[in-house]
Structure formats: structure tokens, C-alpha cells
Amino acid sequence: MRVLYFGVLKDAFGRGDEEMVLAEGASVADLITACRGRYAGAGKIWDSMAVAVNQEYARAEMVLGEGDEVALLPPVSGG
């Protein structure tokens, strides 16, 4: 699946997107756990973020598929 990073997470990972392979049946929560292990610098972020799957806000228990576009979204600050 394609994973996109925005805002502070984009800076933290040093890239805006990457391909990731997760186990069959992995959920949004599993993806967060996998990413969280690579960046401890903003603990707060992981508890206050949202995730979009194919450009629609998704719940933690949503199961991800191979062709999905998944975006990790820090709290938004537009306007």
C-alpha cells in the first residue's frame, strides 16, 4: 500500500510517501503501531492524529488492503 505523510510527520520521516507491506488483515491501528516505532519524537502526535484511507477519514479498526492509499494526518492547521 502507499502511505502518505503530512506536516510534522513528513519532516520526521524525511519523505512524503512510501510503499509499505503489512500483514494480511492489518488495520489502521496496526499501521500506526508500525510507524510509531520509527518515530518517538512526537508522542503527542500519535494520540491526536487522523488517518485517511483512499481520501476518506477512517476508524482505527478498519482493515487495509494492498492497493489502498493511506495518509497519516497530524491535527490540521489550515485557514
Binding site: 502518505l4 506536516g7 510534522v8 491501528a29 510509531r36 477519514y57 491535527p75 490540521v76 492547521s77 489550515g78
Partner: protein, 151 residues
């Protein structure tokens, strides 16, 4: 309905002028501009970025919902991305309606909801450093709680 994400200067006066129609009694404009400081730190410029396709889709949804919810006639919603300096317009919201009450309410609801739900971020460049703006907490129906808070 004019809903756009742009990399260019927002032509605020032009957009306001073209939205007006004979049946309107009120036009409410929210012109969001870059301030010269945040909590006393001097701002040089702001860099805006977005999850562009999703942000545009969410903005279209907000414009539709505003018309339905408040009964206003027409809405324009334009957000700019990229580097903006002090005084420049980052977001323009225009609401046209027969009566002022609905126009005020819809305009306020649009900016407040945009700031909580549309995937756009700004990085503030100060004289003495840069930070991603804290942002507004996501509403409960959008936020994904961290794994340790589940179950």
C-alpha cells in the same frame, strides 16, 4: 459554488463581486490573512501544504453542507497553498444570502469547521526558528485514538 485550492494570489474583491445576485440581501466575507506574529514571536512567512485532492473534496462537502444547513444561496471557498507573507490572504470565504443572519452563521461555521477537518497544514517561519502550527484537535468522529487508548 466556487470551491478552489490555488497556488496563486486570491483575488478577494473579484470573487466577492462576482458572487452577488439580485436576490441577495447580505454577503458575508471572511478574509483570513497572515498575521505578523504568533504569541509574540515575529512571523516572516507561512508555508501551507495540503493533502490536495482530499482537501478539495472536503471543502466541496462543506460548501454543500453550508447551503443545506443554513439555507444560504451561494458560497465561495478558496484556500491558497505555498509560501505566504504577512498580510496575504490564505483563505477566503464568501456567503451570499437573502438575510444576514444565515450569512453570518454559515460563514462562521465554514471557517471553524474548515480549521478542524480539512487536511491543510501550515509551517510558521519565525525570525528565530520554524514550527508546524499546533493545529486544532480533530473532532471525535474523525480522530484515531492511539493504540494504547483502545479497548
Amino acid at each position: 459554488m466556487r470551491v478552489e485550492i490555488t497556488d496563486e494570489v486570491i483575488a478577494a474583491e473579484e470573487i466577492v463581486a462576482e458572487i452577488k445576485a439580485g436576490e441577495d440581501g447580505a454577503v458575508c466575507v471572511f478574509d483570513g490573512i497572515v498575521r505578523n506574529n504568533t504569541r509574540g514571536r515575529k512571523t516572516l512567512y507561512l508555508d501551507y501544504e495540503a493533502y490536495r485532492e482530499m482537501a478539495l473534496e472536503k471543502m466541496r462537502g462543506l460548501a454543500d453542507e453550508a447551503v443545506e444547513r443554513f439555507g444560504v444561496r451561494e458560497v465561495a471557498l478558496v484556500h491558497r497553498l505555498g509560501r505566504l507573507v504577512v498580510g496575504e490572504t490564505s483563505v477566503l470565504i464568501v456567503v451570499a444570502s437573502a438575510h444576514r443572519g444565515a450569512a453570518f452563521e454559515a460563514c462562521r461555521w465554514l471557517i471553524d469547521t474548515l480549521k478542524k477537518t480539512v487536511p491543510i497544514w501550515k509551517k510558521e517561519q519565525f525570525v528565530d526558528g520554524a514550527i508546524w502550527a499546533d493545529g486544532e484537535p480533530f473532532p471525535d468522529e474523525i480522530a484515531v485514538a492511539g493504540p494504547e487508548r483502545q479497548g
